[in-house]
């Protein structure tokens, strides 16, 4: 998937010149993501209701005052569930990305800098892992570990390691062969210092952007797992689970799935735009 990330990240934004901090394209998604983070941390600020509160008087109530996003088949407030789902979904998204990146950096750095024999083995390992499409790997991991939010997080995260690792390795090799690493040698820096001070930081730099976009993708992956019934366990209000639940009511109560789906899409869009902006900043020298 990180190949895709790379691609998404590489896609150019229209106004390359100009101060990227000032563009509205940054402020709006940034504000939205901050809002999401706030909702994840403090859901009770956004809604007075409980996400699992069954209300038999409100079953399948359409959106309106009191229930902004309507109510589901148990009369639970959909808006409240979306808000509470934020921490689940974003948590899985961020956690999985962290796992993927951390594992990717470790494996990728080792596969780029280890002694030749070990290096070849690790490269082969990455190749092997890459031969599994991520979804298959995630499904296998779920099958071994069982369902649940933590396991979803692990499955999505672990399955993305290989992609990140390959990227990190190529970056590590690029940096290792770069002029400034050679120059650092000629300045008299020691190899561990070079790796720690130059190679890893510079190799990991492009990862920041990819990771941002990766969070969005991990949210989508987790929701796909929920959709095929291998995601979180009810009554967790994870976004994918909300969508999956609501699909039985597409014709009678479309809001149960439509509004959460919109939130998912807007969130992922916001995160992706943020990532691209970040990349723009980095590519312009990183001076805010």
């Amino acid at each position: 998937m990180s190949q895709a990330l790379d691609v998404i990240a590489r896609v150019r934004n229209g106004n390359r010149a100009g101060n990227p901090w000032r563009a509205p394209g940054l402020i709006i998604p940034l504000a939205f993501v901050l809002l999401l983070l706030a909702a994840a941390a403090m859901p009770q600020w956004f809604t007075a209701l409980a996400p699992d509160a069954v209300d038999t008087d409100a079953i399948l109530l359409p959106p309106g005052p009191g229930h902004w996003f309507g109510a589901d088949q148990l009369g639970r407030d959909v808006f409240t569930r979306v808000i509470y789902g934020t921490s689940q979904s974003l948590g899985i998204g961020i956690g999985a990305t962290l796992i993927g990146c951390a594992g990717g950096v470790l494996l990728g750095t080792a596969a780029g800098l280890a002694p030749p024999v070990l290096q070849r083995l690790l490269v082969r390992l990455i190749d092997i892992l890459l031969a599994f499409p991520e979804i298959l790997l995630a499904l296998l991991i779920i099958a071994v570990l069982g369902r649940g939010p933590t396991n979803t997080l692990l499955a999505v995260g672990l399955s993305s390691i290989a992609g990140y690792a390959r990227l990190v390795r190529s970056q590590v090799l690029r940096v290792w062969q770069s002029g400034y690493v050679e120059h650092a040698v000629s300045l008299g820096e020691s190899t561990p210092a070079i790796i720690a001070r130059h190679v890893v930081p510079n190799a990991v730099r492009p990862l920041v952007v990819l990771a941002t976009i990766g969070v969005g993708n991990a949210v989508l992956s987790a929701s796909a797992l929920s959709f095929i019934g291998l995601g979180v366990v009810p009554p967790a209000a994870e976004w994918g689970a909300l969508l999956a639940d609501g699909r039985n009511f597409l014709d009678t109560a479309p809001w149960i799935s439509f509004l959460p789906a919109t939130v998912v899409a807007i969130s992922v869009i916001a995160i992706t735009i943020l990532g691209r902006r970040l990349q723009l900043l980095l590519s312009q020298g990183g001076e805010p």
């Binding site: 002029g179 120059h183 000629s186 300045l187 008299g188 510079n202 020298g285 001076e287």
Partner: protein, 559 residues
């Protein structure tokens, strides 16, 4: 290699005396939109080019010369605004037409057909994924000049015309399979294909070695003789001097001086032209400053008893992907004495950069050894060598490559201090400021990133960094090749001043014979990994012993 101009005299069979104008430019302005309103990069320039005439526009980067060239084919860039009192091109039909206000469709009839365009470095200027033949034939196809079936034949004629041997074979090859010179000829052939009367050549020889450059220049000469009008865009006064009938000097979007080549070079009227001319290093400039007038203090004759750096019988081998072995260096022995500058000159692929790396102990030699101050240097383990590295520092062509992109200037210069001194934070900061002053940089560059600096400033930062550890030997690999003439002059002056002041020894690697001659006490000429000739600078230049040296010297265009 001789250029045969067989056949084809469909171009004007020139009577140079008459020289009817092919292109007339009067009061051309080009502006680009920016946040502060339109920014004029070309401000009211005028010139004409007659048939069989070569006009060179000479200028430094940012002077607006390339934009001018591109504007003439309607490709100045998106958003460019063109304004001219008159911009007239005389076409094949003899009718003059205005190049202002053309639609894209009208332009595409001009491009290639009326004006041929040759860019720098054919490796990237020819589509790398297509065969030479198809690239050269494309204008024919586009303008429908020749039936499809005959294009191949026509392409062969074209290739032969620009002096490419075995045109049938070459047409079937890809750009990367050709040498730089052949490639550039192919590029010229493609510009000639649709038989335009006017050729525009934008730095057509910049990426080439001098000997190859010489060949390409003669192609242009032959073309002019055949009646083509040629607009040559170059930064290199010597190239302009050799090729052009007339020279126009451009600075900040204006033509500050235009005139017959000899006149402009011999009796420059404008101060900028004068500065430009005096900044070019050459035999004549030894012993004086380039960037300012006045003689420079005479350097003490170096003590040549014990070399600071000695290369003994160095060989470096590379294994190609096809398993064949090439020697980047073979039996190279060199000595650098304290306080002197040893220049290594050679064309691309001669192995001079490899020698630089070996001298820096960045690459172990496959045979031979390097001694530093008579002690083992290349034989040491990296751990043993590390503390000694402070004494040998390097300056490279593009300092951006050698700076960690995350670091600001202060951190860059501080780096050797952290490694080799135990100065405290405050002391380091003070030392960094000293060094910055030493290389004539204002202290406000310290918190900037190198990407935000100009090329000359960057090279100064890299010099400051190299000096931070108080080295005895500087290894400079093409340190000024990426710089404009005037900037190059300042950097060279700085290096010489520092050498005088600090008693540095320098191993100075360059392809530019002028620069080498200006800088070096002694010179080594390299070819194909072997040193063909060494000696004192005057000796080598005035009485070359080796054939290759002679050829090299002959190929250098002179002012």
């Amino acid at each position: 290699m001789n250029v045969q101009l067989v056949g084809r005299h469909d171009v004007v069979s020139a009577a140079p005396a008459a020289r009817p104008a092919i292109l007339e430019v009067e009061d051309l302005h080009i502006a680009f939109p920016s946040r502060l309103g339109p920014r004029e990069v070309v401000r009211g320039i005028s010139f004409t080019i007659g048939a069989g005439e070569i006009l060179a526009i000479v200028g430094e980067s940012g002077s607006g010369k390339s934009v001018t060239a591109r504007a003439l084919v309607g490709l100045a860039g998106s958003g460019a605004e063109l304004r001219a009192r008159s911009l007239r091109l005389s076409g094949h039909d003899g009718e003059a037409r205005s190049l202002t206000e053309l639609s894209e469709r009208q332009w595409s009839k001009i491009r290639g057909r009326e004006i041929g365009f040759v860019l720098q470095d054919a490796l990237v200027s020819l589509d790398p994924l297509r065969r030479i033949g198809r690239e050269v034939g494309e204008p024919l196809l586009t303008h429908g000049l020749v039936p499809r079936a005959e294009i191949g034949k026509e392409v062969e004629t074209l290739l032969a015309r620009v002096g490419i041997p075995d045109p049938v074979v070459r047409a079937a090859q890809y750009p990367h399979e050709l040498s730089g010179g052949l490639r550039q000829r192919a590029l010229i052939a493609s510009a000639l294909a649709a038989r335009p009367r006017l050729l525009i050549a934008d730095e057509p020889t910049t990426a080439l070695d001098v000997t190859v450059q010489q060949q390409i220049l003669s192609v242009f000469q032959a073309l002019a003789k055949a009646g083509h009008g040629i607009l040559l865009i170059t930064h290199d006064l010597a190239v302009a001097a050799q090729l052009a009938d007339r020279i126009a000097v451009m600075q900040n979007g204006e033509l500050v001086e235009t005139g017959p080549a000899r006149e402009v070079l011999r009796k420059p009227r404008h101060a900028y032209t004068q500065r430009l001319l005096s900044a070019v290093p050459s035999a004549a400039t030894r012993g004086r400053w380039l960037s300012t007038s006045g003689a420079r203090p005479v350097k003490a004759e170096p003590e040549r008893s014990q070399p600071i750096l000695a290369l003994r019988d160095i060989a470096v081998r590379f294994t190609r992907p096809d398993r064949s072995v090439t020697h980047a260096a073979n039996g190279v022995s060199l000595h650098v004495y304290p306080g002197e500058t040893l220049g290594i000159v050679g064309e691309s692929g001669s192995g001079k950069t490899t020698i630089g790396k070996v001298a820096l102990a960045l690459r172990p030699p496959d045979a031979g050894e390097v001694l530093f101050r008579g002690q083992a240097w290349s034989q040491l383990s990296e751990r043993q060598r590390r503390p000694l590295r402070r004494h040998v520092q390097t300056i490279v062509q593009d300092p951006l490559n050698s700076f960690d992109p995350r670091y600001a200037v202060e951190r860059i210069i501080e780096q050797p201090l952290l490694l080799h001194t135990d100065l405290g934070k405050a002391a380091r900061s003070a030392r960094v400021r000293e060094l910055i002053q030493l290389v004539n940089l204002p202290s406000d560059v310290l918190d900037r990133r190198p990407t935000a600096l100009s090329g000359g400033q960057r090279q100064r930062v890299s010099i400051a960094q190299a000096l931070a550890s108080e080295p005895d030997l500087l290894i400079c690999d093409e340190p000024v090749s990426a710089l404009d003439v005037t900037t190059q002059a300042q950097v060279l002056d700085l290096l010489i001043a520092l050498q005088n002041r600090l008693g540095l020894a320098m191993l100075f690697i360059s392809h530019d014979l002028g620069v080498i001659r200006h800088m070096s006490d002694r010179i080594a000429v390299m070819k194909d990994g072997v040193i063909v000739e060494t000696g004192a600078a005057e000796e080598v230049f005035d009485a070359p012993k080796h054939d290759y040296t002679r050829r090299l010297l002959e190929a250098v265009p002179r002012l």
